[in-house]
């Protein structure tokens, strides 16, 4: 099963805010056997959101969006998603009662009422942190951009997701340059088609090294690959 993430927000594209949702979602999805295959970061612009959602929801099993579902003028995600699905954006009675439980009537301002407006036909996704819910429409999950809230919403989304075998990973760090092991590593990759082998240089305590990462949903092949890699390294040292 494959998923994509659409990060919606000018604050990410201006460099003001460092996104933290991508790596969290990727790791979380791995554990339930769904592969994050593509990510797009786009501006808070209606047409961009509509086009991107409509393209990716056909291309992937699941699409997640983060950002733009708050109460201010720059929060246009829910409205844009409704347009992408060609349905009305309307006050969702369940969302309204959630906010009514949380806020006094006088606190339920027009701005907060905006957060009860959900595309018709969508199911709510619970927000355990600050109440105003996310939602799911077909295979698209619309979540908040604030990492803590997004992470809470993911737990609510879990029931709707069908995954596969979890993707396991293992790694070996070696203090040798990438180029020194490149050839043997390539041979190893040729012998293990079900294991994805990546090579990532690092600097630790002023010493250069390479992280050799193996990823597979087949635990046996992952273990085999690791032994062969250890053997390969022992011959090079």
């Amino acid at each position: 099963m494959k998923a994509s993430l659409i990060i919606i927000g000018n604050e990410i594209l201006s460099g003001r805010t460092q996104d933290k949702n991508l790596s969290y979602l990727a790791t979380w999805l791995n554990e339930i056997g769904i592969q994050l295959t593509e990510v797009r970061v786009i501006r808070d612009e209606e047409k961009e959101i509509i086009d991107t959602v409509n393209l990716l929801r056909k291309k992937y099993d699941y699409v997640f969006t983060t950002g733009g579902i708050g109460p201010t003028h720059d929060d246009i995600t829910s409205e844009s998603i409704a347009k992408a699905f060609n349905v009305d954006l309307e006050v969702n009675q369940q969302a309204l009662s959630i906010l009514r439980e949380y806020y006094k009537d006088s606190e339920l301002t027009e701005a907060r009422m905006k957060m009860t407006k959900i595309p018709r036909g969508a199911e709510l996704v619970e927000n355990p942190v600050s109440k105003a819910p996310g939602f799911k429409i077909e295979n698209v999950f619309v979540m908040a951009g604030i990492p803590k809230i997004m992470q809470g919403m993911l737990e609510g989304a879990k029931v709707h997701l069908i995954g596969g075998d979890p993707v396991r990973s293992d790694f070996i760090d070696v203090y040798m340059p990438e180029s020194f092991i490149a050839e043997e590593l390539s041979d190893l990759q040729d012998r293990f088609h079900d294991v994805e082998i990546g090579s990532y240089p690092f600097v630790k305590d002023g010493k250069y090294g390479t992280s050799l990462v193996m990823r597979s949903s087949d635990a046996k092949k992952l273990a085999d690959c690791k032994s062969q890699m250890e053997l390969m390294i022992s011959k090079l040292v």
Copy 2:
């Protein structure tokens, strides 16, 4: 002037590595008046790279790529870019002499020689950190994924970039919920079309607040907007 960034790397999509290049590039581009408008994170797959580069280089003034130009089997960016432009990937004599100055002949292994292969017609982009260069082909800048190297390469790329007025930004942090100021903020945005106003909730020392961010390439309008925002806030407190 508008730019896009293509982050190439399974390690980002698996959640193993937290990207740091997006926010750096965005901020760096702002300063020379180029707007980062879209970012895509894609897998180390030839077809994905070719299609994405060919789409975005027509859509934006500049395209930057990060990742996949090292010596190992999973580094396929240079080859894919050559295919995207339908030119040969060949040993670049200038790149070769750079590496020859840096490495002894015996150290110039086949793996390292891979890093001298550059699409025909491309210009080199200097790598002040670890020598193996990036390159520029038409409006596409191909850079390393390691943040320190990527940042060094950007300085080399600068001479090729034509920007506009730098985008300036300013902000006011208020300790009130977003929803409390949403209506006034929307009115303010309607009055300042050349200023992009964003509203971002935060938690600091356990207190909830909202960061009101203004961005514009017009310094005068930015200052006017800020005074009006201060006035707006003083009325709400």
